[in-house]
Every structure is written in C-alpha cells, then in structure tokens.
C-alpha cells in the first residue's frame, strides 16, 4: 500500500516535471527607499506585459513573485536564495543595480537557472565573467556613454568637459564616453556621490569654455545639476549632453521646463513608430497614468523575451538548454525595434540621439532625432569564452 502511494506520488511529480503547467518567475527589484523609482517602473511594465498577455507567458499561466531588495545587496541575495531553493522559480529577473545583481545572481547560475537582466549589465559580465545563464534585455553598462561620445564626435565638438560622481560606475561611464569621443577632453571632474550644490563645478565649466558638457549624474544628483546649470545661464553657451536615463520622464517630471532642449542617447524612445511600442506606450499610459521611461521599456521587453523563450521551447521549461536556445534566438517584437543577442548574450542593437521637446499635447518628452550607432555590441565580448 505504502509503496503504491509512493509510486503514485512519484508519478505525479514526474508528470509535473515533464509538462509544466505554469511558469514561475522570481522578480527581485529595488522598490522602496530613495532609489526606488527605477525598480517601480520596471516592475510596473513587467507586470503590465504579463497582464496584457492574459496572465500568461509563452502560453503558460505566469506566477510572478515580486521581492524588494531595499537597495541592499545582502537582502537581494537572500530573496534570490529563497526564490531558487524554496519557491523553485523557472526564471529570475528584476534587479536594477549592478552591485545588487553581482551579489544576487551567482546563486541562479550555480543552479543552472536563467537570469534575465532588465537593467544592469556590468562590463565584467559581458567579458571575462560571462555566463550561459545570463541574458541582458537592456543595454551593456557602457553603451549609452559610448553613444554620447560618438554623438559629440559626429557633431564636431572640439573640446568636451566631463563630470561624473567619484565611484566605479562614474569612472566606467566616462571611459565609455572617451572610447568614441575623438575631440579634446578639457577636464574630467569627479564629484562627490550625492552632491547637492554644483555652483563650484559650474563656475569652472564657464571658465573652461568647452564646446560640450557631458554629465553622468544619476538620480537626484542629475536633477540638482540640471536645475542649477539652467539657472546659471550656462545653458545658453554650452550644450549639455546626458545619457538617456539622465533626462527621461522620471527626471523631466521634477525638473520641468529646464530640461527643454537637452540632448541624450538611448536605445529606445517614446515615439518609436513600431507596432509593439505603440501598444506598450498606450497600455502603460492607460494603466498607470504616466509616460513610460527607458526602464519601463526594458521591463516590458524582459517579459516579452521570457514569453518568447517559453513559447519556443514548447513548454519544456525544465530543459534549461532548450530554453536557452529559444532565448538566444530572441524571437520577440521588441519595443526598441531590431534586437539580437551577441555571443556573450548581451544585446546588439541601435542607439539613437534624442532631444527633450514638447509633444502635441504640450508635454515634455524625448523625441528621436537621429541614429548614433547601428547594430552596436560592446567592447568586452572578445574576453568572453562562451561560444
């Protein structure tokens, strides 16, 4: 009797394992604290994509377990462990910041579980430390800065003044800019993390008279800088260039009119004229009554990428090699237009020049005005041993 029961239980278990009846996703993101805006955008778009798909991903009912890492690497790691070991999720995704991702995702890789990044893509993971279980649905960390450097070169700016916070990502960003900027770098200024007042730096910029000013100042620092830059009157003399997230909707909202005429570089914009994007923007605005940011676009695409991988692996989501193969093919309609994976499973895609302008309803939005890179990969792929 006992043996029969056990056999029956086993049968049920194996049956479950073969034809999965649902797909479980561990979504870890920064959802509280001062840095929560990005994570909230990604989560909102991800959940909206699942909802628009009728609650399904790749034809299977989707269950998304949302966890808040509170901007702490150790908390992110704990949630990842629980998702992998207790909840037995099929995919892990959601993390915003590189430092939290580096702490949290190795547990997924060790357990042969796919992590799809909706944002962070640190350079080591594109090169030496590339993993078969890592897919990046956003852009390599350097890419926006490289595109900004290329834009400054294209414009023929003879000299550029660069400002970034004094930490690793700040230095990486300016390295990315300089990789494609052919002019003369007048100064490379590293400011304090979380700096409030930029009057001293602005006075130095005015004295240096550069042809262009590039800043990488994420979050509140950028809001402070742009407000003060415009108030100082420098905006009349020096063109300011920022990376795409530096003047997206989450910066435009608090800064207001001062963002008008700012140039930036990004892989996506609100006004992209493809069917997937029109559907996404309309659905997002209807659901949340605000305009989506690049981060929201990344969250949506992450869900659509998982959708395609589950669909094309014919529901065999326990077979990680089959899912990987399906995901590498990336057969989904990205809101950014053309998209494919590089050998290191980082995106190869276009980057565009955008400018903040008013749309037909008088709202401040980013408008696409040109293409900076076509089919652009990253500088680290040759260090990746993966085939």
């Amino acid at each position: 009797m006992k043996i029969k029961l056990l056999a029956a239980a086993l049968l049920v278990l194996t049956a479950n394992a073969q034809g999965a009846d649902k797909v479980k996703i561990g979504f870890i993101s920064t959802l509280s604290g001062p840095s929560a805006a990005i994570g909230v955008d990604i989560r909102d778009a991800f959940l909206l994509a699942v909802k628009t798909n009728g609650g399904k991903l790749g034809g299977l009912p989707a269950e998304v377990l949302v966890g808040d890492d509170q901007f702490k690497p150790d908390v992110g790691r704990q949630i990842a462990e629980k998702n992998v070991k207790v909840d037995k999720v099929n995919f892990l995704t959601g993390i915003v910041f590189s430092n939290i991702m580096l702490a949290s995702v190795p547990i997924a890789f060790e357990n042969k579980l796919i992590y799809v990044s909706p944002n962070a893509a640190p350079s080591p993971m594109a090169g030496k430390e590339c993993s078969p279980y890592l897919f990046v649905a956003s852009w390599p960390n350097d890419a926006y800065h490289e595109a900004a450097g290329q834009h400054a070169t294209n414009r023929g700016y003879k000299s550029a003044y660069l400002i970034a916070p004094n930490y690793q990502a700040g230095k990486d960003s300016l390295t990315g800019f300089k990789r494609y900027y052919k002019g003369n770098v007048v100064a490379e200024v590293y400011t304090q993390l979380g700096q409030l007042d930029y009057a001293a730096e602005l006075a130095q910029v005015r004295a240096a008279k550069p042809d262009a000013l590039y800043i990488f100042l994420p979050g509140g620092m950028g809001i402070n800088f742009i407000k003060q830059f415009v108030a100082s009157g420098l905006s009349k003399d020096v063109p300011l260039i920022v990376p795409g997230f530096g003047d997206d909707q989450d910066i435009i909202r608090p800064v207001g009119e001062a963002t008008l005429g700012l140039f930036d570089t990004a892989h996506w914009a609100l006004d992209f004229d493809n069917a997937a994007n029109k559907k996404f923007v309309a659905a997002f605005e209807k659901e949340y009554r605000r305009l989506p940011t690049v981060f929201a676009a990344q969250g949506w695409d992450t869900a659509m990428l998982i959708d395609a991988a589950v669909r094309d692996s014919k529901g065999k989501i326990e077979d990680v090699e089959a899912v990987r193969k399906a995901m590498r093919a990336a057969k989904f309609e990205s809101v950014r237009g053309p998209f494919k994976f590089n050998r290191n499973q980082m995106p190869i895609q276009n980057y565009y020049l955008r400018v903040v302008a008013k749309d037909s309803q008088g709202r401040l939005v980013n408008k696409t005005i040109g293409t900076v890179f076509k089919d652009h990969g990253d500088a680290y792929v040759q260090d990746c041993k993966m085939k």
């Binding site: 509280s32 604290g33 001062p34 929560a36 805006a37 909230v40 004094n166 490379e188 200024v189 590293y190 400011t191 304090q192 979380g194 409030l196 007042d197 009057a199 001293a200 730096e201 006075a203 130095q204 005015r206 004295a207 979050g219 509140g220 620092m221 809001i223 402070n224 407000k227 003060q228 415009v230 108030a231 100082s232 009157g233 989450d250 909202r253 608090p254 800064v255 207001g256 009119e257 001062a258």
Partner: protein
C-alpha cells in the same frame, strides 16, 4: 585662473554656506535647547519642500506657496513633538536616534504615498536667469535671493534670541535646563514652540532650496549630515555658531572642490592629482571639523557654559 573666477567661487561658498545655515539653525535650536537628537529634522525639510510644491501649484504664486508651507510645516512639526517626540526626552541619545531614524523611514514612505517619489517646484520666472554682477560675471539671480533670505533669517533669529523674552527663555533653557525649570519656566510649552520654530526653519530651507535641488523622497538625509557637521563646528545650541559654522563649511567645501584639484596639479603628476584632488576635496569639511574640535572640543561658540 582669473580673479573673476575666484570672486565667483567665493560667492558660491557664501551662498552654499547660507543654504546650509537655513537647515542648521533649526537643528541647533532643537538639539541645543531640548538636548534631543532629531534625525527626522531632514524629514521636516523634505515635507517643507513637498508642501511648498503643492501650495505653489495651488496658488500659482511662488511667494504665496512658500509662505503657506512655513506655518503648515510648523504645525506638522508641533504635532510630531506632542504626539511622539515628547516621550523621548527622558530617554538617552541612542533611543532618540533609533526612534527618529524610524520616523525618517515612516515619513519617507508616507510622503511617497501622498505625493509620489518626487515633485516639481520650478523657479519663479523672474529669477530663473542669471544677472550680470560685473562684466564677465553672470550669477544666478535665484542664488542671490538665497543669500538674501539666509542673511535675513540670521538677523531675525539673532534679534529673537537676544532681544526678546522668548529668546531669553530659550537661552536659559539651552545653557541650564534644570535651573530654568526650577525658576518656573514652562519647559513643555517652550519645547513645543522651539520645535515648531525648528520645523518652520526646515520649511524655509526646503522651499527655498527646492528650485535648485531635487525634491524627492529621501532628500533630507543627504543634507542632514552636512547640517550636523555645521552645528558641531559652530557649537551645539548656538545660532551664531550655526551661522559661522555654515559659512566655514560652505566656503571650505566650495574652495576645496574648485581649487584643490588645480593646486594638486601644480605639485603632483597629473594622474595622482586627478585621483587625490577630488578625494581630499570631499573630506575637506570633515578635516575642518576635526581641526576645530581639536582646539575647541565644544565647537566655536558653545551654548552651555
């Protein structure tokens, strides 16, 4: 390096110092007189900015919005004092730090529920551009207004504290609380009023700085550290100390950021200079604090005798 640049940077230092003074004045009043470490001071600063943003939108006038935000924040502050903080006076500083840190988290998330994670407070149109102070020295008109408001607040506080009866009670409370109690001063009422005044100063700071700084959840924590440095340098509980401390911090920080990297470039290899310059500049105010405390452990103008 021209003398115009040096003049501009000195003005920047003065301006940044007065920005910090607006926040430090309230903090030093509360800390010095009530002997209460209030980490949630930054939260009141944030509330002041968010309230100002709402009122400016409602009234359509920057001045009216700021003037409404000040009493509103003072009322919120007094409500906070009566309901929560009052129970903490008898506790030690560690308990106060823990409790007011919890308040930071609670107020942050409440603010997010009410306003969202950020708010806009545009600069009033007439002040949004630069003015030509001297030929070749354009300066942000709004920053000049901040200098004026900072100086006005300093004068007003000086008058209140040294020339009025309430000010006398406040000074008595700061220099010897037990004696003031024994002389029949209504400390409860005095504390509520002082806390309200501190909150009002937070609102002035929050509303005046909002057009230059990000109005977002968590904006208070960043600036609070600087405000603490200011009052420790100036001497806890002393308004005069807060003003001098704020000006010192503002000028040292600005000059450090502006000229240290250049100075290092003269003496060291460019590579070492570009690494050491910003690093030293960012700790310059803490070096200043260490030096001041070495010679004057109670700060420059200690309130307690």
């Amino acid at each position: 390096m021209s003398w115009i640049l040096i003049a501009e940077q000195s003005l920047n230092g003065l301006q940044f110092g007065l920005m910090l003074f607006l926040l430090a004045a309230g903090l030093t009043l509360v800390f010095g007189i009530m002997d209460m470490i209030n980490l949630a001071h930054g939260s009141l600063y944030m509330l002041g900015a968010f309230l100002a943003s709402t009122f400016v939108q409602l009234t359509g006038s920057f001045t009216a919005g700021v003037l409404l935000a000040i009493p509103a924040t003072a009322l919120l502050g007094m409500a906070l004092e009566v309901s929560v903080l009052r129970t903490l006076y008898a506790r030690d500083h560690m308990a106060q730090v823990l409790a007011t840190f919890a308040l930071i988290l609670i107020i942050n998330e409440l603010t997010r529920l009410v306003w969202g994670s950020d708010a806009a407070l545009p600069m009033p149109g007439a002040l949004s551009g630069p003015v030509e102070l001297m030929p070749g020295l354009p300066y942000s008109a709004y920053r000049l207004v901040i200098i004026a408001v900072g100086l006005a607040v300093a004068v007003l506080l000086y008058f209140l504290v040294t020339k009025t009866r309430v000010g006398m009670l406040v000074r008595a409370g700061a220099s010897n609380r037990e004696m003031a109690l024994a002389m029949g001063v209504n400390i409860r009422l005095l504390f509520t009023l002082v806390f309200g005044a501190g909150a009002a100063l937070c609102a002035v700071a929050g509303a005046m700085l909002a057009p230059l700084l990000a109005v977002q959840v968590g904006m208070g924590e960043n600036i609070l550290i600087l405000a603490f440095v200011v009052i420790v340098i100036g001497g806890i509980g002393s308004i005069r100390g807060a003003l001098v401390g704020a000006l010192l911090v503002g000028i040292v920080d600005t000059i450090g950021r502006a000229f240290l990297p250049i100075l290092f470039g003269v003496f060291f290899q460019p590579r070492a200079a570009s690494a050491a310059g910003p690093a030293i500049a960012s700790v310059s105010i803490y070096l200043l604090m260490a030096v001041v405390l070495y010679f004057k452990p109670q700060g420059l103008f200690p309130a307690r005798g």
